[in-house]
C-alpha cells in the first residue's frame, strides 16, 4: 500500500472553501461549458445518423461519386467528427482548464484553502476532524 502518511489530509472546510472559491467556479464553468454542449452535439449528430440509416435508407443510398454514396460519406463523417472533437477537447483542456486545476492542486497541497491558513506546517489537528480518503 502507498502509505498516505506523507501528505496531510484536507479537511471538509478546506474542500468547501475551495469549492466556493472564484477560481473553482471558473474551472467548473470552463469544463462544463465545453463538455456539456459538445456531448449534446455529438449525441445528436450520432442519433441523426442512426435515424437516417434506419428510417431513410433511400436517401443514404443516393450516389455521390462512383460507388460511394451519402451513407458511406456520413458514416466516415462520424469518424472524422469523433477525431476532431477529441482534438478540440484536448486543446481546450490544455489551454483552458489544466492551468487552473494545476494551480489549485498546488495551493490545496499547501493548504491555502484552510480557514486558518497561516503557519500550519506540521500541525496535526487539521488532519483529523473527519477528513477521509476515498
Amino acid at each position: 500500500m502507498t502509505p498516505p502518511a506523507e501528505r496531510r489530509l484536507l479537511t471538509p472546510e478546506e474542500y468547501r472553501q475551495a469549492q466556493d472559491s472564484p477560481e473553482f467556479t471558473e474551472l467548473r464553468r470552463r469544463f462544463r461549458r465545453f463538455a456539456f454542449p459538445m456531448t449534446v452535439a455529438f449525441l445528436a449528430w450520432y442519433l441523426l445518423y442512426v435515424l437516417l440509416s434506419t428510417y431513410a435508407p433511400d436517401f443514404m443510398a443516393t450516389p455521390v461519386f462512383g460507388n460511394v454514396n451519402v451513407g458511406i460519406l456520413l458514416g466516415l463523417g462520424q469518424f472524422v467528427s469523433t477525431f476532431v472533437i477529441t482534438h478540440l477537447y484536448v486543446a481546450h483542456a490544455n489551454r483552458r482548464t489544466d492551468p487552473i486545476s494545476d494551480e489549485m492542486r498546488e495551493r490545496l497541497e499547501h493548504h491555502d484553502y484552510a480557514p486558518s491558513a497561516r503557519g500550519t506546517t506540521g500541525g496535526t489537528d487539521l488532519g483529523k476532524g473527519g477528513a477521509t480518503r476515498a
Binding site: 468547501r16 462544463r32 456531448t39 450520432y46 442512426v50 482548464t97 477521509t132 476515498a134
Partner: protein, 549 residues
C-alpha cells in the same frame, strides 16, 4: 437469408491447423513469460488492481484498445460488412462514438476520485454499504455476461480455425482459454493483464493494417472500385452499400437497431473493465492521453474493418462465407487465406485467439477486484481488512470466476445455446445501471443514496426482465434455412417485449428512477462529501499516486 449455402464443403477447414496452433502457441508463450516477469513487481493492492498506476498514457491507450476490441469487433464486424454490407459498418460507429462520452465526461474525473473500482466513485458521497453492493452486483453482472459470450465465442472459433468439431474439442478449448486467463490474472495481476492487452492490440492492429493495404492494393487504392466489386458479388437483391439489409426489415427491427445504438453509445463509458483501466495511469492527464490514443486506435481499426469487410465480400463472396463453419465470423479468416494463404490465415487466427484471451483476462480482474474491494473489504469486513488480505480474496475470486465461466461456457456450448446476445446485454446493463449513476454522481449535487440505488437496480432489473421476455430468449420465428429459432429456447414462446435490445426503454427509465429516487428521498445530500468529490474530480488533489518501485 438464402439457403443455397451449405451446398458444398461446409465442413472443410481452410488453412493448416498446425500453423494456426503454433502461431497461437508463440503468443501464449511470449505473454506468459512477460506475465511472470511482471509478477516480480506485484507487491501491493495498487499493484494487483491498478498495475501500480505506472502505466503510461500511450501504453494504456493500447491496452484499452486491446481490452475493447473483442473477437466480436474483429470477426463479427468484418463479417457483418462482408455479408450485410452497410449495416455492419453502422454497428462499428456506435462502438467508436461512445468513446467521446468516456473522454469528455468520465475518464479524468473517475481517475481523480477512485482507487480501484467504479464503486469507489459511486459510493463516495453516499451510504457505503448499499451503494457498493449495488455497484458490485452490476459490475459482476456485466463482466459475467461479457465473459460468457467470449468463452462461447472461443469454442466456436476453434471449429473454424483448428478444424476440430465435436463437443469434447470445444470444451477443451474453453478450459484452455479459462486456464490461461486465470494464470494471467493470478500471476500478473493488472500489470500482466495490461501487457497481454498491449501485445494483442499491437498484433491485431498490425494484422488488420496488412490486410487493409493488401486489399486496397488489389484495387489500385480505389475505394469505389472495391465497393463496386462487393456489390457485384453480393447476395442477390441486396444493396450492400445502403443501410437496411440487416436491420431494415420491419419497423420493429428498425427500432431494435436504434435501441442497440443507444446501448452502445451510453454503455461503453459504463463498462467496469474499461473504467478500471483509467486507474492504471499516474494522473488524470495520462487518463486523457490514454483515451485519445484509444480513440485513434479503435477508430483506425474500424476503418480497416470497413475495407476488410467489403474486401471479403468482394474477394471471397458472401455465399462462401456463410457456407463456411463459423458463418459470418469466418469472413476475415477466409479473406486472410485468399490473400496470403496459410501463413496469413495462421497469423489472423492466432490474433483472434489472442483477442479473446486479452479480453477475458481484463474482465476477470475487474470482476475479482469489485468483489474483493467492494463486497468483501468494504461491506462484509467494513473496511477492517489488510490490503494483502483483500488481494488474496481478489485472487480467490478470480479463480472462482474463471471456473464458473468455464463451466457455464461449456454448458452453453453443449446445449447449443446461442449466447452471442450477452455482449449486447452487457452493454445495455452498463448503459442503464452504471452510466446514469456515474453521471448523476459526478454532476448533480443533490443526488442521494436512494437515487443511486433506484437507478442502478432499476436499470439492471429492467434490462434483465426485458431480455428474458424478448425474442432473444423465446418465440423468435423459426429460420427456414436452419429449421431452428434464433431464440435461446426452442419451441416455447413467453415473450411480450418485441425488441432484442432493451436499451431504448431501460436507459431512460434508469435516468428517470435516479431523479425520482433523489427527489423522493428524505436524506439530505452530504454537502461536505460533495465538495470533496467535486474539488478532487476537477483538480486531482488527493488522487492516488503511482507506486514507486
Amino acid at each position: 437469408m438464402r439457403s443455397v449455402l451449405a451446398a458444398d464443403g461446409a465442413t472443410a477447414t481452410v488453412g493448416s491447423p498446425a500453423i494456426n496452433i503454433s502461431i497461437f502457441g508463440v503468443f501464449v508463450l511470449v505473454t506468459l513469460v512477460i506475465t511472470f516477469r511482471a509478477s516480480r513487481n506485484n507487491k501491493s493492492a495498487a499493484d494487483y488492481y491498478a498495475a501500480g498506476r505506472n502505466i503510461s498514457g500511450t501504453q494504456n491507450g493500447l491496452a484499452i484498445a486491446g481490452d475493447y476490441l473483442s473477437a466480436a469487433s474483429f470477426l463479427g464486424i468484418a463479417g457483418a460488412i462482408a455479408v450485410y454490407g452497410y449495416d455492419g459498418f453502422l454497428y462499428s460507429i456506435g462502438f467508436l462514438v461512445a468513446w467521446l462520452v468516456a473522454l469528455l465526461l468520465v475518464a479524468e474525473l473517475m481517475r481523480n476520485t477512485a482507487r480501484y473500482t467504479m464503486a469507489d466513485v459511486l459510493a463516495f458521497r453516499m451510504r457505503q454499504g448499499p451503494v457498493r453492493t449495488a455497484a458490485a452486483i452490476s459490475t459482476l453482472a456485466v463482466s459475467l455476461f461479457y465473459l460468457l459470450a467470449q468463452m462461447a465465442g472461443a469454442g466456436g472459433l476453434v471449429t473454424l480455425l483448428l478444424g476440430v468439431t465435436g463437443e469434447a474439442a470445444q470444451a477443451l478449448v474453453v478450459v484452455l482459454v479459462g486456464a490461461l486467463m486465470i494464470i494471467y490474472v493470478l500471476v500478473g495481476g493488472m500489470r500482466g493483464t495490461t501487457y497481454v492487452q498491449i501485445i494483442k492490440a499491437t498484433l491485431l492492429i498490425a494484422g488488420a493494417l496488412v490486410m487493409t493495404v493488401w486489399v486496397l492494393a488489389l484495387y489500385g487504392f480505389n475505394l469505389s472500385a472495391l465497393l463496386g466489386d462487393s456489390v457485384a458479388n453480393a447476395v442477390e437483391g441486396r444493396d450492400v452499400l445502403a443501410p437496411g439489409a440487416q436491420y431494415g426489415a420491419t419497423s420493429i427491427s428498425k427500432l431494435d437497431f436504434v435501441s442497440l445504438g443507444l446501448a452502445l453509445v451510453f454503455g461503453t463509458a459504463g463498462l467496469p473493465h474499461v473504467l478500471m483501466r483509467f486507474y492504471t495511469v499516474p494522473t488524470a492527464k495520462d487518463a486523457r492521453r490514454s483515451v485519445v490514443w484509444a480513440i485513434w486506435l479503435i477508430g483506425i481499426f474500424y476503418l480497416f474493418s470497413l475495407v476488410i469487410g467489403y474486401g471479403a465480400g468482394a474477394l471471397v463472396g458472401p455465399e462462401t462465407i456463410l457456407g463456411a463453419p463459423g458463418a459470418v465470423n469466418s469472413a476475415a479468416p477466409l479473406l486472410a487465406f485468399e490473400l496470403g494463404g496459410t501463413v496469413l490465415l495462421g497469423i489472423i487466427a492466432g490474433v483472434a485467439f489472442a483477442t479473446i484471451l486479452a479480453v477475458v483476462a481484463g474482465l476477470t480482474i475487474t470482476a475479482s477486484a469489485s468483489f474483493a474491494h467492494d463486497v468483501y473489504a468494504s461491506v462484509i469486513k467494513k473496511g477492517k481488512v489488510s490490503p494483502n488480505g483483500e488481494v488474496k480474496v481478489a485472487r480467490i475470486t478470480a479463480v472462482v470466476i474463471g471456473a464458473v465461466s468455464i463451466g457455464l461456457g461449456i454448458l452453453a456450448l453443449q446445449a447449443g445455446l446461442n449466447i452471442a446476445f450477452l455482449v449486447a446485454l452487457a452493454f445495455a446493463v452498463a448503459a442503464s445501471a452504471n452510466l446514469p449513476t456515474i453521471l448523476y454522481t459526478l454532476f448533480w449535487k443533490r443526488f442521494t443514496t436512494q437515487g443511486a440505488l433506484w437507478s442502478m437496480y432499476g436499470g439492471l432489473i429492467a434490462c434483465i426482465v426485458l431480455i428474458v421476455f424478448s425474442p432473444v430468449v423465446s418465440g423468435a420465428p423459426v429460420n427456414p434455412a436452419t429449421g431452428l429459432s434464433p431464440s435461446l429456447f426452442q419451441d416455447v414462446d413467453f415473450h411480450w417485449f418485441p425488441l432484442n435490445n432493451p436499451g431504448i426503454v431501460s436507459i431512460p427509465l434508469s435516468f428517470f428512477l435516479g431523479w425520482l429516487g433523489t427527489i423522493l428521498s428524505k436524506e439530505k445530500p452530504d454537502l461536505d462529501k460533495n465538495a470533496e468529490l467535486e474539488v478532487r474530480s476537477l483538480t486531482g488533489i488527493g488522487a492516488e499516486k503511482a507506486v514507486q518501485h
